[in-house]
Subunit: 116 residues, 2 copies
Amino acid sequence: MVRRSAETRVHVREHAFEGKGSITVRDLLRGPEEMYEKGRVFAHTTLQPGCSIGYHVHENESETYYILSGTAAFDDNGEKTTVHAGDVTFTPCGQGHGIENCGDEPLELIALILYR
Amino acid sequence: MVRRSAETRVHVREHAFEGKGSITVRDLLRGPEEMYEKGRVFAHTTLQPGCSIGYHVHENESETYYILSGTAAFDDNGEKTTVHAGDVTFTPCGQGHGIENCGDEPLELIALILYR
């Protein structure tokens, strides 16, 4: 099956985990059904400059971000760092993360949440 | 954990599924271990113009491609179509696919294989 770009489901989420501004999430797969119940998110997420996803912990699942473009301040389970295009962040079950676009361009990333 | 771009594992695969030329695969997660045994591939794959992944069937797993850039001829379980940046292809368990870069630029895609 091919799902054209215009057919993908896009939603805007305000203050995700008490973050700043909004994020735009393009679902690449539709929830657990299309993921054979192995996870719940496979998405292309965009944060405009100054926007963020607040810190949150993943229980019983991991989340991976793959940075496609832009620059971000990343909170890696309490440790602060900067991530750029090509970097991968992996937040295993029981750990937390948060991310903020600290650059001048949109921050584009692929997010994958897999169940433990 | 943050894995920097330069630390990601990149491998070149020749004639993937009897395809043309080679493909370059950047592993975003390392196999089933980092995927909690829920799948086996989460990768950024590049095909230069004229290169292809030959047609193959996925048993007991699905594979999703998310086209980041470029233009490709896609064989969707026997049906031929053209895909572009932003399109998602979903090959469920028991179906097959193949893809060829039919454009002038590199074809970049995210590949995700999840077990059934």
